[in-house]
């Protein structure tokens, strides 16, 4: 199950790197010069990784999750992708590149196109371009299916991971609850892939920390790297994760290097092309210092614009109910969440735009980005509180078994 979801996530990463490498080499994309290298890389990954497919015990709650996903798929594909950020940012770049079968550096460098955020990483637009290559031309009619696929990939992974640590009924309930954040309401945007890469990556790293699972460490590092290839928040997440790793299990920090290696090419290329970044306009530090005294007002804005406030309140209650020992055990995920939110808050203070507008238009999206791992660990902590006889060390037996990824 998890292998299916991971297969999709890695496939999108492979497509991104093949198209990116061809574009940097000055070679225009076609179906064959993208598909063949991608297939070779995918086969190599399968041979090396030897994924296997285990059967899970399903419950009635899984049916509810399937119904939610099915109705979500109906919504996401009801029409051409309609979101403003799709046709002004993610879909726009994909369509522009699709016209010339490569990355249009002139478009990205033009001062008139800074509204399209030329500095944003390109994993999602390049995957849309692959869909256009396969489909024989640009069409935005069914691109909402990508959003659904990323969500399903994450839910499959959560289901498998939870099943390894608790009973099938609780695992399926956690997976259903995860739909609150995994099924992003922002169709066609890079939120869904970021939620999937970041969510799966953080949960893999958690496994690596709790069970000394080096296979999970490699997956976690690669997925976090792909999150950084998806959105700038993913790049910030690398810093966050590194700090959280250092505070949770220091000797694992250096094993996180693949994440930085995957993020580096785009960071270097965008510097070489001098692609403008919003936050770099004027003095970021001056704006932060100027707004810092108004942090209270900014916090109220964040609370007012919180997406799914009921779920957040319940998660907070869950954190308070769980025994202290469990919170200490899960400190990696909790630290990642707190640090990432802190980065968002500082970014808001330093935005060159109106802070009210910036918060209203982005905070509901940002809060979902690293919420799934938090939700999963809070529910696992509650499950352990309910059944303390299932001690953490019992999981070692599961962890030592051959995992499904």
């Amino acid at each position: 199950m998890a292998a299916l979801g991971l297969g999709f996530l890695y496939a999108t990463g492979i497509i991104y790197f093949v198209e990116f490498a061809l574009a940097v080499a000055g070679i225009r994309w076609n179906v064959w010069n993208v598909t063949l290298p991608a297939l070779v890389m995918a086969i190599a990954a399968i041979v090396i990784g030897k994924p296997r497919f285990t059967r899970l015990r399903f419950t009635l709650v899984d049916i509810l999750t399937c119904v939610s996903v099915a109705t979500y798929a109906l919504y996401a594909t009801i029409a051409r992708v309609w979101e403003w950020d799709f046709w002004a940012i993610w879909g726009l770049k994909a369509r522009v590149f699709s016209e010339i079968h490569t990355i249009d550096w002139r478009f990205l460098e033009s001062r008139w196109n800074d509204f399209a955020h030329p500095d944003y990483p390109l994993l999602l637009p390049l995957n849309y371009d692959y869909a256009a290559l396969i489909g024989g031309g640009w069409s935005d009619r069914w691109l909402g299916a990508f959003t659904v696929a990323f969500a399903v990939a994450l839910l499959l992974f959560v289901r498998e991971l939870a099943a390894r640590e608790t009973t099938p009924l609780i695992a399926s309930t956690i997976t259903f609850a995860a739909t609150a954040f995994a099924l992003s309401g922002f169709i066609g945007l890079a939120e869904a892939p970021l939620i999937a890469f970041a969510g799966a990556g953080i949960l893999f790293l958690r496994r690596a920390i709790l069970f000394d699972d080096m296979r999970a460490m490699r997956h976690g590092a690669v997925l976090a790297g792909l999150a950084a290839c998806t959105k700038n928040e993913g790049i910030a997440l690398l810093v966050t994760i590194t700090i959280a790793l250092a505070l949770s299990k220091r000797h694992l920090v250096w094993r996180f290097w693949p994440a930085f290696a995957l993020a580096l090419p785009w960071i270097v290329i965008r510097m070489l092309h001098r692609l403008p970044t919003d936050l770099a306009r004027g003095s970021f530090a001056t704006r932060v210092l100027h707004r810092a005294p108004h942090l209270g007002a900014a916090s109220m804005l964040l609370l007012r614009n919180l997406n799914a406030p009921g779920v957040w309140a319940a998660l907070l209650a869950g954190l308070l109910v769980a025994p202290h020992a469990l919170r200490v055990r899960e400190r990696f995920v909790l630290l990642v969440f707190v640090l990432q939110v802190a980065i968002y808050v500082v970014t808001y203070l330093g935005t060159p735009f109106n802070i009210e507008w910036q918060i209203a238009t982005s905070w509901p999206r940002l809060t979902a980005q690293v919420a799934t791992p938090l939700l999963v660990v809070v529910m696992l902590m509650l499950a352990r509180t309910l059944a303390p006889e299932h001690r953490p060390e019992d999981d070692l037996a599961h962890a030592e078994a051959r995992p499904d990824y």
Binding site: A88, R95, S110, A116, V311, V321, A322, M379
Partner: protein, 149 residues
């Protein structure tokens, strides 16, 4: 439950309630309403959603796209020549529909006119605005005119 203190039992009960509440809050009624909704009507509504108030604009841009070639430059004229008064929407939307062409704005974010872009553009796409010659009318319809220098 032998040996459990009252606090532990209470903690377990609260944990159970919170666990169930989190799961219940994940139910999104809007998704289930969508499943029961009239799909054709929803399709029509969402198709027009990005252009509400500008209904004929996408059709106009499609016609401009059909009459211009990749790499050619198009300047955009609309009734509201103020960035936050509609020009930014018109410009972003034109950039999407005319992908491959160089779409040039005639005002910037600060509403400063950009006559250089007007002079540089091979075409002018005028939506619900009259543009004075000397320019050749390439096509007219769907609420606008495409002019060539």
């Amino acid at each position: 439950m032998h040996g459990d203190t009252t606090d532990t039992v209470m903690r377990r009960r609260i944990a159970f309630v919170v666990f169930v509440v989190i799961a219940l809050l994940a139910i999104d009624p809007s998704l289930f309403r969508i499943a029961l909704a009239n799909r054709a009507a929803m399709h029509a509504a969402m198709t027009h959603y990005p252009d509400r108030g500008w209904d004929a604009y996408p059709a106009f841009l499609e016609q401009v796209r059909a009459r211009t070639k990749p790499g050619e430059s198009v300047a955009l004229v609309i009734p509201a020549m103020r960035w936050d008064g509609g020009y930014s929407y018109a410009y972003y939307r034109a950039s999407y529909f005319l992908a491959g062409r160089e779409v040039l704005p005639l005002v910037d974010r600060d509403d400063v006119p950009q006559p250089g872009n007007f002079a540089r553009a091979k075409y002018v796409a005028a939506w619900r605005r009259d543009v004075q010659p000397p320019m050749r009318v390439v096509w007219s319809g769907d609420g606008g005119t495409l002019l060539e220098r």
